[in-house]
């Protein structure tokens, strides 16, 4: 499964979840859905805004984890 790790980038950029939500233009609830892995799909536009807000590459926030394994650090 694809895991979205925004926590590491948020810590690096010293940004809060609220600020990220405002910059990306989505609600905090949706950020939680992304972080919890409950999202079924992410629009490219949303990914574009996340990368723009965090000043990072998609690979910095997206990680592939085989089903059944926990995510690496």
């Amino acid at each position: 499964m694809i895991v979205i790790n925004v926590d590491v980038m948020l810590a690096k950029r010293k940004m809060s979840v609220t600020e990220l939500a405002e910059r990306v233009g989505i609600t905090i609830a949706n950020i939680s859905i992304l972080k919890n892995g409950k999202a079924k799909a992410v629009k490219l536009e949303t990914l574009n805004r996340i990368c723009c807000a965090l000043n990072c590459q998609p690979g910095d926030v997206l990680e592939y984890v085989p089903d059944g394994e926990s995510s690496s650090d």
């Binding site: 989505i26 949706n30 859905i33 409950k38 079924k40």
Partner: protein
């Protein structure tokens, strides 16, 4: 931004209006059903039975037929309650949901059960000589309507279920 909020408010208002309208319709249907089952069938039915067209020397025909017919009110009442619950869900902006899909499937089952029971019961009464062919013909028409309602409800249930799945996926698309 303001336009988006206005659109959402308008959509909510339409949903509330539709929900209230459906509740009014179901309440009206319930009242009509009460009139038919409590007055028209027992009173007018008895009067029709006493006309020369239906007259028979065996006056015991009417009561068993009336009992068989009154039993059909039970699934109808349950279906109206289920329809009322669908109207409540629509009012909560929960139109496309698995709940509504299950309610519609239950309505379909009740309609089929009611039509099947009424048809078989009237055939049995006809065979044992306690029914009239003209009455049976009317019963067939009623059963046909019941089967049509069952089919439409089943199809609607499937469509609502599929729409609920699409809605769920849409809500989880960020």
């Amino acid at each position: 931004m303001n336009y988006g909020r206005q659109r959402k408010a308008y959509s909510n208002m339409k949903q509330k209006s539709l929900s209230n309208w459906l509740k009014i319709i179901f309440a009206g249907v319930a009242v009509c059903m009460a009139v038919v089952y409590c007055y028209l069938l027992p009173v007018w039915g008895r009067e029709c039975f006493n006309t020369s067209f239906f007259y028979t020397e065996d006056s015991a025909w009417f009561t068993p037929w009336l009992i068989v017919t009154l039993i059909t009110a039970v699934p109808c009442c349950i279906a109206i309650v289920l329809g009322w619950r669908i109207a409540i869900e629509i009012g909560r902006d929960n139109s496309f949901s698995e709940t509504n899909s299950k309610l519609l499937m239950n309505i379909s089952f009740l309609a089929a059960l009611d039509a099947g029971y009424y048809f078989v019961a009237n055939i049995v009464l006809l065979i044992i000589g306690m029914n009239h062919p003209a009455v049976f013909f009317l019963v067939i028409m009623v059963c046909f309507a019941g089967v049509a309602i069952s089919g439409v409800s089943a199809a609607l249930s499937h469509l609502v279920y599929k729409a609920a799945k699409i809605n769920e996926e849409n809500e989880l698309t960020i």
